[in-house]
């Protein structure tokens, strides 16, 4: 049912009439560079990316070739929701990533699904969709090096970047 809705949205958006997506696109592109965790010492600006990384945790993980949220992922995202409610001016870019064991193009699509799983959860928890933007990097930006299960598990991820 939901899937059918998504398809309709896609078709409509192609005609240029999807206003929410347009807004989301128009907000944080490259103009607002990700707030680098530049705090020299322990000082972390509340609501910043550094705050998000240090005090909330900026990522959730997925199983191989899966995009459904795991229970621990949902727990993590509940903290994201609280953070975003506390800092209502924050926008969030949600990156979707994959491990290296897949083909490039399919992984771009899979990363997009993962980013959207995160987004859908946040929206369902009351975060305005217009504050959220998704981007897939497929397997192009691993977080952890290594061709082993431990590294792969760390690389199958959704990452929040506060704008």
């Amino acid at each position: 049912m939901k899937m059918r809705f998504l398809c309709v949205v896609a078709a409509v958006a192609l005609l240029g009439a999807c206003s929410t997506e347009e807004q989301a696109k128009g907000t944080g592109t490259t103009t607002a560079a990700p707030a680098a965790p530049s705090a020299p010492t322990a000082q972390v600006t509340p609501g910043s990316q550094a705050d998000f990384v240090k005090n909330v945790g900026d990522r959730v993980f997925f199983d191989f070739d899966k995009y459904n949220l795991k229970p621990e992922g949902r727990d993590q995202l509940a903290k994201w929701v609280a953070f975003l409610k506390k800092f209502p001016n924050d926008q969030l870019v949600i990156e979707g990533h994959c491990d290296e064991r897949g083909t490039r193009e399919y992984n771009l699509a899979l990363g997009e699904r993962r980013a959207n799983s995160v987004k859908d959860f946040l929206v369902a928890q009351g975060v305005q969709a217009s504050r959220l933007k998704t981007i897939s990097y497929g397997k192009e930006r691993p977080a952890v090096l290594g061709s082993n299960e431990a590294a792969w598990a760390q690389n199958r991820r959704g990452v929040g970047v506060v704008q």
Binding site: T29, Y67, E105, A109, S147, A151
Partner: protein
């Protein structure tokens, strides 16, 4: 660098056949036989009157011999074994001398620079045992076009002896990679199929992926993360102009030109769901071809444009599908063990090449468009992204090595392999390389 040569090369085939003689029991390579013994061939230096012409004649012979050798079907004989001199050869081949060095075929040629500085290159291919000329051709070009002429000579020899079109007068566009994996710099780069005339097409400022040639090779469609918006672009090689393709509300990726170059087919991702769309480049009209809640990507046209093969996970895992070009009659064609991806229709129409992976690794393989006759050509920790040489006999792909936890390894290199599964060779690139796309024969 390549452009002036391309433009200036007047592909005038002065005399298709300088002269012909009836051939009997001539030398032939049946390239359908796996692991065929390479044919010993004598490629002599092309003769020239001046020092410059002589040097160019040597260079041309070197490129011809290297092309033929790389095909795996020919074994150029070391020149120092030759008995007959280049000068004497201009009068008449002494076939006994060439039999004595076990040459089955003999290549000779001549380079002339005309008054206006242009080149005239002619060559003859001899069947040593039948003592007949198999082919003789002449080419005119600007001086910088000598390298292309050499590839065209190699193509003519390949075609005459194997009966298949050659693929040496071609280019490869690919993604040049450098830097640590977490912050990998990826640039589009283009080169001749023998790795010469290499140049970068993008500066590495943004992530770029999956370049593919238009049929006339003057455009490349690819995906770029310009301004953090992953979208499909077209790069016009002559002007250097980069064009965002369409105004889509989500990520567009996995682009490929139609065989007539008038359309680009690609995936659009919307709210996490990827479907296949086609854009007519003349009218900019967009047609949606798949409409389902699953991942549909990696579309590739059949050479007659009637059908499209693509990748979908609608069955639960990635598999290969074929549909009509209007999106109707979508049918799964891959049913083997494992996941299948990146289907690419052969330019001959007879096969679809793909990436396959299962727990023990990745494979490059081919199957018929109806899914029958699956054959795996090579395997590895990660091999991916086959692309066809224009004659449909050779494939290029990329191979990645495993990375250890210290970050060692993880190299990415281009390779070519014969359709028989033999003659796998690295395609040399200055940096690491992935996502190769082989051009059609240069018009």
């Amino acid at each position: 660098m390549r452009m002036p040569a391309l433009k200036a090369l007047s592909l005038a085939l002065l005399a298709a056949l300088l002269w012909t003689l009836p051939a009997t029991a001539e030398v032939v390579i049946d390239i359908n036989k796996p692991n065929v013994q390479p044919m010993p061939i004598a490629v002599t230096n092309f003769a020239g009157a001046s020092g410059q012409e002589t040097q160019m004649g040597r260079d041309i012979a070197g490129v011809v011999a290297a092309d033929l050798e790389r095909s795996g079907l020919f074994k150029p004989i070391e020149q120092k074994a030759f008995i007959q001199s280049v000068e004497s050869l201009q009068v008449q081949p002494r076939f006994a001398d060439w039999k004595a060095v076990n040459a089955q075929a003999l290549v000779q040629g001549r380079v002339e620079q005309t008054q206006d500085g242009h080149l005239r290159v002619e060559f003859r291919l001899w069947d040593v045992f039948a003592e007949t000329q198999m082919v003789g051709q002449a080419y005119n070009a600007a001086p910088q076009g000598w390298r292309r002429i050499a590839h065209m000579v190699a193509d003519a020899i390949y075609k005459r002896i194997t009966g298949e079109e050659g693929y040496f007068d071609t280019q490869i566009v690919y993604v040049a990679e450098s830097g640590p994996q977490q912050k990998r710099i990826k640039r589009l780069a283009i080169m001749d199929q023998d790795s010469e005339n290499h140049r970068f097409l993008t500066d590495g400022q943004e992530l770029v992926l999956t370049p593919r040639f238009s049929p006339n090779q003057r455009e490349i469609t690819y995906m770029s993360y310009f301004r953090n918006q992953p979208r499909v672009y077209v790069l016009h090689l002559d002007s250097g102009r980069r064009e965002l393709l369409g105004d889509f509300p989500g990520m567009t990726f996995a682009p490929r030109f139609s065989p007539d170059g008038n359309k680009v087919i690609m995936s659009l991702s919307q709210e996490g769901n990827s479907n296949i769309y086609e854009m007519d480049l003349r009218t900019r009209h967009v047609t949606r071809l798949t409409n389902d809640p699953f991942i549909d990507t990696s579309p590739s046209y059949s050479p007659d444009s009637a059908r499209i093969t693509f990748n979908s996970d609608r069955s639960g895992t990635q598999q290969l599908y074929v549909m009509n070009a209007d999106g109707s009659s979508q049918q799964r064609i891959s049913f083997g063990d494992g996941r299948y991806a990146t289907p690419v229709w052969s330019p001959r129409g007879d096969l679809v090449a793909f990436t396959k992976f299962k727990s023990d690794g990745f494979y490059i393989g081919v199957m018929r468009p109806d899914g029958s006759g699956e054959r795996l050509l090579t395997q590895g920790f990660l091999v991916e992204g086959p692309t066809w040489a224009p004659n449909g006999r050779v494939l290029a792909f990329w191979r990645q090595t495993p990375t250890d936890s210290a970050g060692r390894g993880g190299t990415v290199k281009l390779y070519s392999i014969d359709l028989t599964g033999y003659n796998e060779r690295q395609i040399v690139t200055p940096l690491d390389g992935s996502d190769p796309a082989w051009s059609p024969l240069i018009p």
